[in-house]
Symmetry: C2
Subunit: 750 residues, 2 copies
Amino acid sequence: MVGARARVSGRVDFALNAVVPGMTHARLLRSPMPHARISSIDTSAAEKMPGVVAVLTAADFDRPGAPARYYGAVLRDQPVLCGEKVRFAGDPVAAVAAETEEQAAAALLEIEVDYEPLPAVGSVAEALAEGAPLVHEKPPLPREASYADIKFHGREGNVCTKFQLRSGDVEAGFAAADHIFDNTYHSPAVQHLTMEPHVVLARFEGERLTVTSSTQAPYAVRDTLAEMFGVASSKVRVIVPPIGGGYGGKTYAKFEPVTAALAWKARRPVKLVLPRDEEFLSLTKHAATIRMRTGVSSDGKLLARDVQVYFDAGAYTDISPRLIKNGGYSTAGPYAIPNVRIDSYAVYTNLPPAGAYRGYGVSQAAWAYEQQMDEMAEALGIDPVEFRRRNLLTEGERFATGEIMREAHWRELLDRTAEAIDYDTDRRVVVDEHRVRGKGVAVILKSTITPSTSHAAMRLDADGSLQVLTSSVEMGQGAHTVLAQLAAQPLGLPVSAVHVTEPDTQYTPYDQTTSSSRTTRAMGGALTSAAHVIREKLLKLAGDLLEVSPTDLELADGQVVAKGSPGVRMSVPEVFRRTRTGSISGDGEVITSGGLDPETGQGIASDHWHQGAAAAEVEVDLGTGKVYVRHVHSIAHAGRVVNPKLARLQMHGSTVFGISHALYEELVYDEGILTNPNLSDYSITAMGDMPAQLEVEFLEDEGEAEIHGLGETTLPPVIAAIGNAVRAAIGAPVRTLPITPERVLEARNS
Amino acid sequence: MVGARARVSGRVDFALNAVVPGMTHARLLRSPMPHARISSIDTSAAEKMPGVVAVLTAADFDRPGAPARYYGAVLRDQPVLCGEKVRFAGDPVAAVAAETEEQAAAALLEIEVDYEPLPAVGSVAEALAEGAPLVHEKPPLPREASYADIKFHGREGNVCTKFQLRSGDVEAGFAAADHIFDNTYHSPAVQHLTMEPHVVLARFEGERLTVTSSTQAPYAVRDTLAEMFGVASSKVRVIVPPIGGGYGGKTYAKFEPVTAALAWKARRPVKLVLPRDEEFLSLTKHAATIRMRTGVSSDGKLLARDVQVYFDAGAYTDISPRLIKNGGYSTAGPYAIPNVRIDSYAVYTNLPPAGAYRGYGVSQAAWAYEQQMDEMAEALGIDPVEFRRRNLLTEGERFATGEIMREAHWRELLDRTAEAIDYDTDRRVVVDEHRVRGKGVAVILKSTITPSTSHAAMRLDADGSLQVLTSSVEMGQGAHTVLAQLAAQPLGLPVSAVHVTEPDTQYTPYDQTTSSSRTTRAMGGALTSAAHVIREKLLKLAGDLLEVSPTDLELADGQVVAKGSPGVRMSVPEVFRRTRTGSISGDGEVITSGGLDPETGQGIASDHWHQGAAAAEVEVDLGTGKVYVRHVHSIAHAGRVVNPKLARLQMHGSTVFGISHALYEELVYDEGILTNPNLSDYSITAMGDMPAQLEVEFLEDEGEAEIHGLGETTLPPVIAAIGNAVRAAIGAPVRTLPITPERVLEARNS
């Protein structure tokens, strides 16, 4: 991997290391209550504290020349700082910039805020209850022209937005079914826990704002800040150094607005490094409650499915409207179900906001549908793999959204993964009186953000060096390595000749976001186009010099060579020198189209589909209820793998995340207060929890196959496969994640 | 001017203000002798001084893994630090990086250097004398593939390089002449005196080197550093913030090599800010001695010219081989002379190196030929303007290089400027017994760097903002303002929608250099092409949406409008939104061709010619010899003026420089030691020296005319016009610049 040595030896220039002259340090004052009216804020004592440069509150916004206070990816419902009320315990109320971080922290203690507590809603159930207190009194404003595919219907009470899908005739389907299964599954909120926290450094030069940020979405941040300050987008420059993990938690503007507003007030550069405990308040994966009714025929054909999905959006919308759409239609699973009705809701609660998280709603959906598949198989007396096989989408079949599936590989993926753990043998084994083992499988489909746009530019220099200008973010996933490979290939260059620049909206072209497992395919495609533009220009120049038609020339090892006449050649630097060319530029783009009808959910949900499967074997201690994962095998359809080592690492990461979600991770709230915002009380997979056997596998297509992203594909099925393995072991389903010892014991005893 | 407010209020981010974490500060130890052998350097005491991080000497170079010690724009003859010997008083011998600049300065005092003095050459005359000591014992190596148009003949003794031009039959021309004039003219070395000194900040991340520098030539610096460290050019990133004046003194690598080498040794970022007294040792305008023999017919036709030009290159070559070429052929002047022989020499001396300086050899040449024109006119009894008119090049005539002149405007320029000072009236006036007044004119031609290459890239963003990626340097001349205007125009955008980025070789395409008055024309042309590429792409997208042929669409005020149907329109942001385009990129280039035969000087010297004239009226105090400039008028052929205010400011600057060179500026050496490296002893034009009347004028062509640069065009004629005015006043020529009171008195008494 490019830059691997720098990364492991601590020499990466993370935003954390950024320093500019006159820089001040920021800290945020946060609400101690989940829901309260703010009756007054007194910052006068704090302003006099040593080293304090500026204290920012809601009063500084929305005046002539001042920034707007509300922002948001879809709806402008999130205040940079709370004014009239706070909506979750941790909601920022004031920000301080001081010469040192310690001085800023000390000043926070001197800010006097008077709160009038309000009744709070701490869950979707409470939020939807009759007469529940409202998190947002008035519906927030949609951003102009954003998300034309989202219909903002169903917004009443604490419902933020709703997605609905209607396919076939569900009631008729149920009427025809021999069995109807009706189960409810729960996934908790979890946190992204990136190694690097959110870091923002903001500085103004005149009205030009430069932000260095650990963001996955430089352009989204730029546009949000330009909107907030009411300036042209060219007045905002967003620079993104390599970041230390994202997993969705750094998409869209997060702490850039408050840091920039503080820099604006302080008239000094301001740097914010979010403390670890505040990371837990920054954004979460959506907790979800999914009620799934599925009608099946006796011979194991899925006939109808009716789903209500409740995603807990927390206090602010963030990207929930789009996530509940993806998480919504995904509950149909990779199955051909003729009659489907899905209602997917984003519900406001007085909890930290939820947003993008690796898997993007699919983990929650798959947890429901793949658990239910096993439960139904058992009830029907059909082997779970065989039951899935009878229903999996095949080439040319119609998904619930109406789109026709192409390159459908689910059966093969399922078969391979089942075989890898020898699923048909010893599906349940009693080891001794305390220990049982079980095996489980799961198979999923996942969309990628559609429609989407990526642009790239490249420049070939006179010595054969290639500068790749991309706004794709290197976050440890190896994006810049893979992009360097793809850029080098059409130009016959070694990867060492390529430099992939860090995103900088002043210089690097538009890219929608580095998320949704889209970068290798979308940005890689844009780069490949750009490389071909440069290739054509170069061969034209060389052809004129060599008196050979450009179509009869090829590029290899830094040389332009006539096909079939290897003696007729010229080095790339010589072509530049002879033509006095200084550099050759080229650009390329990948723009995908699609979208769903907001009334019916029919259309194109995904430009192409990510397909994955996993199998797991667990051992359960019946005395303690503790689950030990013995073996995990996961497989993803990759089309073409660009860099096998990095691709495997992505899938290893998904597996570890999957184990963690299956067994350990959960944000626990007590009266709306997060009780475990630290790494002692919030558990993740540790080295000792890793299975003895862990394999990952790609399914590759023949020949010049398309590239498919695989950064998230096997996270959802690992969770579900572990769940099914536990069910196989203990003979009862645990429908609520994580599968804690308590829940295992409870399931056995129920 | 874009950024004018920031510039005048001290808020420009000059390299001087750059700070990075862990930054150390550099100082250089310089030779106290003009020529000496170094017998030993002992840095042990300096290394132990407080705060010292690294001490660098010649011993650190040219070992495996170490940088090369010699560099140079044309010949690698300049050591980053001297090893075997020093070649001028001020030649750097060691460099120290320390935590503070004061600590670095203190450590310099502890470095012990033993010198064995060598006899030195302090002028061209001394350097060319029989048996003169050699500045360079062995001829240095030409850089591979550089300057194919320079023949390195004539390099013997202290001659660095020679340029020769042979046109017609000079001996026959002289034989046919009625009069032969044989005069010698001198110009001194002067310093650029930029407001901002040379500043370099260098830092390594692994083998990647990033340099922030106040350079006019980011790519030349990049290539020199890549060569020096033996790495691909993509491993070196050169960033150029706005700079505080260049005038040629910041072209090619200057202090980047030593700062980068120090950063390499210190393993820490290093910043060097050159103190003002060391600026005087950095680079100078070439002192020149020009012997000019011109044969004329009785009716005032120039028949033959034979010139020997001796440029004092100082201790190192820098760009002398090219400058003596331009300064050489320029001695033919803007005149049709059928027989010309020119021998132009760059001569090494033990003085600070000479290189590019606003005017690039033309000031020195024009000082000779325009003084001689007046002297010859007087001798022939012909009016000086009339005498010039009879010989000035006209449309289609042949210049001494053999090229045919197009767009020849010299007569018009001369007539206008002569008229502006009422040249025909009171050419000499006796004011009283102490004071006389005189008037003078001068007319010149100046080439621009040819061949040359400029590339540009641009990006139009969804809100109609335009990012211009150019490596042209903003150095106070307003380049970025003019380039913004040219970029905006084809896209129908306001200038406020354009942001011109600072040069950064990681992102901005190749540009040869910001010098030679080439930026507005060459980079402006490249940007215009790039803008048209974007325009076409945008109109194509809009045409598809509006169902109108792109050729029937036009752009105005951020709207795409159907020609003749103003109702059929769409805003630019709407085109982006509807097509899901994120940004539209385009690139363009201007590559000019030309070059001269090294044996004959025949060919294409300049892609186009800069044409200028000036007239001056002076008053001379016959008692003190002091010259007062009363009135200066200068005029340049501009083709098309893009920004009249900035163009005027450029010409005002040229006028002030011209007065300064005519009357005040001179680097004075005593035994090879510079005696006036400060602004007390080195005089430049002060506000009190400014003429009461100062006008500048452009000659513009009709219609969609070409753009001609004008940043240097009127500097040479202002000097010569003042010289001719003094001669008119006192009745005797002063052939040596500057025209000091002593020289005036001496001329009157001779």
